[in-house]
Structures are given as structure tokens and as C-alpha cells.
Amino acid sequence: MGKRVGMEVAIAAAEAVALCNIDVAAVYPITPQSHIAEHMADIIHDGRIDAEFITVESEHSAISALAGASAAGARAYTATSSQGLMLMHEILPIVSAMRLPICMANANRAVSGPLNIWNDHTDIMPQRDSGWICLFTENGQEAIDLSIMSFKIAEDPEVMLPCVVNIDGFQLTHMIEPLEFPSQAEVAKFLPPRKPFAQLHPDNPISMGCFAMPDTYTETVKAKEVALQGAKKVVIRVFSEWAKRFGRKYGVVETYRAKDAETLMLTMGSMGETAATAVDEMRKKGKKVGLVKLRLWRPFPVEEFKAAIAGCKTLVVMDRALSTGGAGGPVATDIKSILYGEKKKPRVLNVVAGLGGRDLTVGDFVNMFGLANKKKNEIFEFYGVRE
């Protein structure tokens, strides 16, 4: 096991990827991802790893270049945020349909307008239907571990899908934390070089990215859906292999003091730690509250989620994005759909909070738990908004 070092999380994410024997990286700078891009450049320019570094002219070209690189058989990596992810949007479902296991870090940031560089999840949510495996991290260690695991998951022959690791912008990317790195030899054992199912090379000429007529398009959509749903068991398998090798345990859904809780709150990403502190304070006062943390957002771990909330009376879902003009935040909307057919289900309250870097303190989480006491709730409500 490696030694503990103090390091900024964005830099640590790049260092983690440097352990993964990548072949091609293509990045375009955007706040708050830029430290990942800069550090990746340092690593490659210093010759610490043998990879091509493409300084693309846009995020659209970053993901496009990686589509080409991955199709040619390379292990390919990029990192982006907010507007950059929005610019990639067109290519994301093409990459997953072509079954290219590209891995990406997304430093979660609010989407314009107005322009705002701070943290929320409004950038990743419009990408949720694009067929990517989508993971969330709560701290720097998770950013390291999941960055490495993402390649293993994405490249699994049963999966062959792209994977995005969400690292909350600033609130995580710019924190300096005590972190532990596995050694290069350990990672090499865990993650051998990519063995592509098919690749662009004259030794075996193939055509990739062919168009589909109405008689085959639906089948391709279903094939992607089956593959993405099937990815869950591989995610779980890779998590358990990681736990065996490196001692840190991960779950697709994780809980905190949830066993006998009457009220549960669901969070994703870095807010989980603040919410956990709120749970501790409320537990001290005898309140039966707990926390559910969704680590795997796509594919949605339905069974694990249902098991995690079994027995609770009220579920407060905190969304850090809004489906404008719709039925609330995207996470709560999914959860309500999943629970609709259940005989025994909790009351679901949806709070949209922490947008565009609006800070949420322990007290704010206590207040959000308090919404469970209201007799009547809206379909969703904003928390902490000035009227």
C-alpha cells in the first residue's frame, strides 16, 4: 500500500490516471477542470508516462478525437466540466453506441446562463440518457480510486461502454486532502493494457459508425440499454476486487445510519459528508434520520436503492439540478418513477438546493430534514432561494 500524501484532488485525479497506462489523452481547459488538464500535460511532457497528449481546440474535438483514438484501440482519457460537457453532448451517445470505453472526469459545475463557474450537477444531468456509466465521488480518495476503476469497468468485455467520474468542482477538485495512492505495480496488476474487441487497423479492416435504418435502429438502442444495465454487476465486481486488493469498500448505493431511520435523505457527490454530519447531530437529539448516497447514477441501481430505503417513512431527495418546467429534480423524478409501482413506499420530498455554488451548511441539511414534518409538500421545492 502506498503512502499518504497531501495533494489537491484535481492533481490527484490526473496522478491516478497516470497510473492507468493510458495511450491518448485529449483535453480542453475549463474551470474547475483545468488543474487536471494542466497536470496531465506535466506528466506527459515530463515523459513520466508514454501517451499522446492532444491539445484540442474544443471539448467537442476532445471527445471526437478520443472516439477516433478509442476506435483505433487506445485507452483514452479526457476531463471536462459544465459548458465543455454540454459541448460534448452531441458525441456522448455516439461514443456509447459505438461501445468505446473512453473514461472522463467531470468537474461538476453549473451550466450557463448566467455564467457561473461553481459547483452543482446541472452539467451532468442533461447527459444522463447518453449511455455512459456515471459515477459520483464524495472525496479525493474516491476520485483516485474511481478514476482507476473506471477503466476496468468501461473496458470489461461484458460492458464496453464509456464512463464518467463526477468530481464536484472546487468543493472537491480544489481541496487539498490526505490521499493514498496504490503503486504503479499494483495498478498494473489490477488493470492490464486494454484489449480492444475491434480496432481500426489495416490488418483487419472494419467499418465503424455505420448508420442504421428504421429496421435496425431500435435494436441498437436496446443493445445499448442491455449493455448498460448489465454494467451494474461489473461495477459491483470491480468494487469488490478493489476492496480485496486495496482495502477500501465501495457500493453502488451506500447508506449512513440508515438501518432504523424513519427519515432518509438521498445525496450524490461531495455533499454527502456535510449531510452525514447533520445526521450525527440529529441522532444525538434522538431523531431517527439517516443518509442514502447514490454512487452509481447510470445505470440506476434499482434493487440496491430499494433495499437501502426499505422501511423508511419519508425520503428527502436532494437534487443539485432542476428539470426546468418539469416535475422537479432529475434524481427525484427517477426515484418517484421507480417507486410508483411499489406497494410499500415512502413519501418522497424533493429539494432542489446547492445550485451554482450556493453553500449548504450542516444547519441547512438539518432544515432540509425538517421538511419531512410539513403536512403538505409541493412536487418539489427550492431550498434557500430568495423570493
Partner: protein, 315 residues
């Protein structure tokens, strides 16, 4: 024209007999673009990977579960052929260095239409050329968005009627002159830039071979006749390409490290543009004074090109 320097252009039998783009594809009768593609692939041989933009050539060649491509081929989207090519080139380089693919040189090419090059793909093209990827970019220019139904692009010539630049009572067709993308590529200091036309197949093949010999970026702008979009008879495709060249509407030249050279026989006097415009339905609304205006512009552009040939020194 120097007959010694151009000796090889008189040897058509040197062209590869092998077909790399199979028959049975869905291109229109008389398609100049697919003819260009066939010659380009013959010039490149087996060791090539093609990144293709969405467009006519993609749609006629790669309807699942069939493909016309005998060489490795990838299509991702419309505007990103150059970016996809960048990634392919980088990957081939890295994987060869790391011993994960055969240790031999494989050329990457990107192919796009005029929309995928001059309009929506211009940024990706500029980025790829500026970064110096070892890649040939081919613009197969049929002067409009033919795949979507003949809409104007920035490569559509002045006054041509398209479905979005119709010959109306108030506005008689395309209002702008054709964007000169080869010049933009020269401004990027791309080591080899050329114009070509499948009506001159040996010239085209030679230019592709020259571009392939460059270990860096190269750009070839191929004038690709389109009877469907130009509203002309499909059996006069080859003739239309020759007329475009002979009238000076689309001169054939190459720019090696900044040095311009005409690769066509320089006539004492260019043919009148009227000969090129008249057979095409897209120019049928032109008045004699319209034609005169186009003629003046073609002469002016031709003089500018001759000046460059005479004056520009290699970098």
C-alpha cells in the same frame, strides 16, 4: 507545364488496379465525389485508416449491415472528421510505439464534404492542421449540402440556385463568393495543399501520393461534380469538371511549403465561364450581365493565382 516534371501524369497504368471502395454503393449516377474517393483510395493503398464526416459519402457507403469500404473506416459525426482523424493518428502512433500493433506506418486520412469542411467542420479542421497531425484531409467539394437536399454552403458559388439560396425575384441565388479554404490551409502553413478534380484522375492520384509522403498535415480540396445538385445531365460529369478547370472557375494547383505551382496546362486564354455555367440548371436564371460579373471575378482570381505562382517563395 514542364513535361519532364509531369512525366508520370501520362502513365495511367501506374494507377492501382485494386478497388478499395466496392461497387454496389448507393451514390447517384454520375457522382463526381465517389469517383474522386475511388481514385484517392487507389493512390493510398492498403495501409490507411479513414475518418469520414457525415454526408453523401458516408450515407451511400455504410448502411448497416453493409459497407463499401475495403479499408478501416470510422464515422462519428458531421463536424468532427478532422478531430476523429487526430485521435486515430495519435492512437496509431502511441500503440505502434508501445508495441501493441504491427510495427509499420499507417496513414490516417479524414474525408468530408464542403459543409463538413468549410462550414461546420472548419474549427476541427483548423485545430487538426494547426496541431500538425500526420493526416491528409480531403474536402470533397460538391458546392452545397447535397445529402440533405441541395442547401447552400460557404463553398456554393456566387449566384448558384440552391434550396436555401433559391433564384428568387428579389435575390437571385447565392449572395456570396465561394470561400477559399485551400488559402486558409496555406495560412496554417500546411506543408502540402492542393486542389484536384476527378476529371483529371492522374493529377489527383499524383497529388494524393505527394500528400501521403508528407509526415505531417496535408490538405487536398477536390472539386466533386454533382449532377443531382447542379441540375445537369449525369453523363457530362467528367466534362463539367474539365470545363470548371478550363474556364478558370476551379484552377488546379498545389502549394508545397508555401510555393505555388499550377498543375494544369495553362491556356493562352481561359475558356469563357459561360461554357461552364450554361449546362447547369443551378445557373439557368443568370442574365448576360450576371455572367459578365462572374467572368470578371474569375479573371481577377486567376490573375491573383498566377501572381502567387510567380511571386510566392517557399517557407
Amino acid at each position: 507545364m514542364d513535361p519532364v516534371q509531369n512525366f508520370e501524369i501520362f502513365a495511367p497504368k501506374l494507377i492501382d488496379r485494386k478497388e478499395y471502395f466496392s461497387p454496389g454503393h448507393r451514390a447517384c449516377q454520375g457522382c463526381g465525389e465517389v469517383l474522386a474517393l475511388r481514385h484517392i483510395l487507389k493512390a493510398l493503398g492498403d495501409d490507411v485508416v479513414v475518418a469520414n464526416a457525415t454526408g453523401c459519402m458516408e450515407i451511400i457507403s455504410s448502411g448497416y449491415p453493409q459497407t463499401a469500404w475495403e479499408v478501416p473506416y470510422v464515422h462519428v459525426a458531421f463536424e468532427n472528421a478532422a478531430a476523429v482523424g487526430s485521435g486515430v493518428e495519435a492512437a496509431l502512433k502511441a500503440l505502434r510505439r508501445k508495441g501493441r500493433i504491427a510495427d509499420r506506418y499507417v496513414k490516417t486520412i479524414a474525408v468530408a464534404g464542403d459543409g463538413g469542411t468549410c462550414d461546420i467542420g472548419l474549427q476541427a479542421l483548423s485545430g487538426a492542421m494547426e496541431r500538425g497531425h500526420d493526416m491528409i484531409f480531403f474536402c470533397l467539394d460538391n458546392e452545397a449540402y447535397m445529402n440533405t437536399g441541395i442547401q447552400r454552403s460557404s463553398a456554393t458559388p456566387f449566384m448558384a440556385a440552391t434550396t436555401t439560396s433559391p433564384a428568387g425575384e428579389a435575390i437571385p441565388g447565392q449572395r456570396t463568393w465561394k470561400k477559399n479554404v485551400p488559402e486558409i490551409m496555406v495560412a496554417h502553413k500546411v506543408p502540402y495543399v492542393a486542389t484536384a478534380c476527378p476529371s483529371y484522375p492522374i493529377d489527383l492520384v499524383n497529388k494524393v501520393k505527394k500528400a501521403a509522403a508528407v509526415r505531417g498535415p496535408a490538405y487536398i480540396h477536390v472539386f466533386s461534380m454533382c449532377p443531382t445538385g447542379w441540375r445537369c445531365a449525369s453523363e457530362i460529369t467528367i466534362k463539367m469538371g474539365r470545363l470548371a478547370v478550363e474556364t478558370g472557375v476551379f484552377p488546379l494547383y498545389e502549394v508545397e511549403n508555401g510555393k505555388y505551382r499550377l498543375t494544369m496546362e495553362v491556356p493562352e486564354k481561359l475558356r469563357p465561364v459561360k461554357d461552364y455555367l450554361t449546362p447547369q440548371g443551378r445557373f439557368r436564371h443568370l442574365t448576360p450581365s450576371n455572367i459578365e460579373r462572374i467572368q470578371e471575378q474569375v479573371h481577377r482570381e486567376w490573375e491573383i493565382l498566377l501572381n502567387k505562382v510567380e511571386c510566392m517563395q517557399p517557407w
